[in-house]
Amino acid sequence: MAHLTVAVSEATFIRSFDLLKRNFVFQDSDLQDHGVFTLGYDVKMHLEGGTVDLRADNTVQIKELDIRWDRLKVIIGLDIPEICVGGGCINMPWPIPDICLPRICIFSGDPDVSISPDFASFVAQEISFTGSLDARYFDASLPLPSPDPCVPLRVVPLTTNNQWQIFLDPQTMDIDLFDFPDIVGNLIENALTSAITALIPGGWVRDLILAIIGGIADLIRAILDIPDDIDEWLSDVFNVSFGLLDFIGTLVLDFFASCNPIYRIDDPFEILPAASGLIPVRIPIRNLSVRADDLEMVVRADVGA
């Protein structure tokens, strides 16, 4: 029998997933000057929808997780060389003052012309993937491969401690770069909502009609999503990503996931912190394993001698 056992129910996974969705926000912006051109971006996204499912074959499935863009601005600027006219003076005899022409310059700014279209309303992605849970041991004393392919992909810097690391190893993936059902559904819903709001300023009649419109938009989304659902179902059955994009996506995610564990446990693991000059008390962790079925995820480990 294992010395230590920790189990997390599927219901807790689902609640934690919802918590993650509600609180996860990614935003970033950058602007770089490349001489004549200025290029930049200003993006903010959050997660919506999607389900998580623990499955009997030691896999975790996340289905139809929507990436919603609150801001997806691409900034393109052009720095046109400055052109100036005028500015010279005509010397006049005394007492007539000199006549100076005004100097007028155009394209003095940097950039002179800038556009920043926001594609947030027109772009939405949907991701589904299945990954198997795997526990691996990271021995910090072993040399890393040279060159290390994980260098640009690590979210958390490489540790100097030995660690047990739990990975979610992707098996299949389905990416809809342009989630047309949602884009079309959103556009229809927004257009009809605006029209109804203009016609009926308020009251329960308007609320009722808006609710019906929301239902119709959801139906349109569901109908348009049927081909993608079939694609995801086939991927799940054959355990292979269909479509070139999905296949490439699986490879990329596989590579990314193999560099980024979802959970880390230091070995030895600190149970009493250093205090008043005393060294911390650490225990060696051995035989860590992780296993999921359709009810729970179980992590087991032994305490080393």
Partner: protein
């Protein structure tokens, strides 16, 4: 076998694992289990039981024992202290329902949902050899006569010791005896402040084969006070540290959570018959995840 059919989270530790943890603590924090006067820092070979410690303890220059003041010689006009040591060894835990530890008859059979503790406690005292008395007696006589007639001295009342450093004659050898202590304990949930903690409570304690009975009772009385007031309150573990600190986990991933996430013990008996449960040689805890807006 499903672990989480009655709670969101489940954690269990087997007695073999916990006994290994205990051994690691004893090796890496020997000062928690050994108490002695400063004299033994230079003379560790005189201790009742040699102290085993991990190489990291020596490398860091950590103390092998917690320093104690010498045992005062009562009534000495010039304070005199005796070197002594108290050492705890062979700490072992046994969760119901195996019988790794044979309890003494006074404690009976280990009841369900309880666990047994066995440890050996050794006490050593550096007795003064005769030649030390030869040197110390004239000194004490001098101090006693010097204090005679002073307001603070009388034959019916011994004045409190002056705040002078005591004379602590070095010990040449220690006279040691060891006692075996058995205890029956249980776990329970309880609040410390507003947080839930797993606490250890003492049910019974016995020191075997000590005569006269009154002396045994006095030593048991003191050991009980040390356990209840000194040791067990330090063993309380915060619930998040036991199972899974989800808030810390999300924070590590750079996600700030707006809601209050807390872990609470699954209710007894509505959800589980015992929580924490001590059974199958394991300590089991059943915990629910509570998210409040």
């Amino acid at each position: 076998m499903v672990f989480t059919d009655r709670s969101d989270l489940y954690a269990a530790v087997h007695e073999d694992g916990l006994n290994r943890v205990m051994r690691h603590i004893m090796l890496q924090r020997p000062s928690l289990f050994n108490y002695a006067t400063p004299f033994f820092a230079q003379n560790p070979d005189l201790l009742c039981v040699p102290i085993k410690a991990a190489p990291e303890v020596f490398a860091a220059g950590n103390p092998l024992f917690t320093v104690q003041s010498p045992l005062p010689v009562l009534g000495a006009a010039q304070p005199v202290g005796l070197n002594y040591c108290v050492q705890f060894t062979d700490v072992q835990l046994d969760f119901h329902d195996s019988d790794t530890i044979k309890l003494p008859p006074e404690l009976g059979e280990l009841p369900p949902q309880r666990f047994a503790l066995r440890l050996k406690g050794c006490f050593g005292l550096g007795c003064l050899p005769d030649d030390y008395y030869t040197d110390l007696i004239p000194l004490e006589e001098l101090f006693a006569v010097a204090q005679a007639g002073k307001e603070r001295f009388s034959f019916t009342h011994v004045a409190e010791r002056q705040p002078r450093d005591p004379i602590v004659p070095p010990a040449r050898r220690l006279t040691c005896f060891c006692l075996e202590l058995f205890a029956v304990l249980h776990f329970e949930w309880g609040k410390i402040g507003t947080d839930d903690y797993l606490k250890v409570r003492l049910d019974g304690l016995e020191i075997v084969d000590l005569q006269p009975v009154e002396m045994e009772n006095i030593i048991e009385c003191y050991a009980e006070a040390v356990l209840r007031l000194g040791v067990l309150p330090r063993l309380s573990i915060k619930i998040e540290k036991m199972v899974l600190d989800i808030t810390a986990l999300l924070r590590q991933q750079g996600i700030a959570v707006g809601q209050q996430i807390s872990l609470q013990p699954a209710p007894v008996p509505a959800a589980v018959p015992n929580n924490p449960a001590v059974e199958d040689d394991q300590l089991k805890v059943f915990v629910n995840l509570v998210v409040t807006p």
